[in-house]
Chain length 186, copies 2
């Protein structure tokens, strides 16, 4: 049994969640702020994560798991490369604040690695082969495009509270699809 107490897990999760949300807005935010957002005392936070680095590591792990889950839901093996990429786009879009964190913290190696069996680059290369992705665009470029547009979409949603989540997702899929598809496509 890894479950120590049940309530401990709940508190721990609340801290990690608060950390993700606050760090997304300000990567240099204080532990006191995170503790307050999680509605726990700073002492309790330190009881779960002795040092700041420990909390950041936990955030990294949690983020990696969410990314992996999204990638699994996207069924990257199905359909053309472009279709798989856009499905992944949809799933990632739901990750919310985590997008900022992943995008602005490229230092952590944890993000890109755990995408599961088919690394993102392989999906893009499949798109190159089946003609759904412009072969002129390097895989790394397409991946960078994916993240930057996801971040742009998240920021747009933040700045336009009246815009519906569904509408923004449509915009994202449309521009991402157009960017990746070659100029000669239908």
């Amino acid at each position: 049994m890894r479950v120590t107490s049940g309530i401990k897990n709940r508190t721990r999760q609340a801290i990690v969640d608060a950390a993700i949300n606050l760090l997304a807005g300000n990567p240099a935010c204080s532990l006191g702020d995170i503790a307050a957002a999680a509605e726990v005392g700073r002492t309790t936070l330190h009881r779960y994560f002795a040092e700041r680095a420990d909390l950041l590591a936990a955030v990294s792990v949690e983020g990696g798991e969410r990314l992996a889950r999204a990638a699994r839901l996207a069924e990257l093996d199905r359909g053309t490369g472009a279709e798989a990429l856009l499905r992944l786009c949809r799933e990632y879009f739901d990750l919310g604040a985590l997008l900022s964190l992943v995008f602005t913290e490229p230092g952590d190696e944890c993000w890109t690695a755990p995408d599961g069996a088919p690394p993102l680059a392989a999906v893009v290369k499949r798109g190159h082969a089946d003609g759904s992705i412009d072969p002129v665009l390097p895989a790394d470029w397409v991946i960078g495009l994916l993240w930057s547009q996801l971040y742009a979409a998240w920021e747009y949603l933040r700045d336009h509270p009246d815009a519906s989540r569904h509408h923004v997702l449509d915009l994202l899929i449309r521009t991402m699809g157009n960017a990746v598809r070659g100029p000669g496509a239908i």
Copy 2:
């Protein structure tokens, strides 16, 4: 004569330049680091900018001027909306580290305002009217797309030192153009 000494301006400019480059990489970097990068003592830095906020303000002004200069070079009045947008893309691309700063510091109002006579949104709307930009895409969305792809291009250039500046610019223009142009274009 506003020119106090000539050498003072040179030192001041070195500090602001160093600040732009360092703040782009780490918005929370210390004044000591900036002084070191500018090859001046921390005392000298404080002699030019009494408080951190004063330096940040100077960086903001300098950034605004560079953005305005780039916008002027792009001749936003000429050609279709999409053509003007892509010309601006080219000019902005040369701003280098400043891109990270503008992109990650949306709090400063200084960036977007001083674009000169034709605000960016007007260019996009011209594109809507002349058919060169998909009318389904809101102007704010297109602007967000522009910045995010500029940032992605800059990051790509950083991570791929072997990639030529010219090649990355080509990728940027291509994906940006495709994203903005409607799906039914030639």
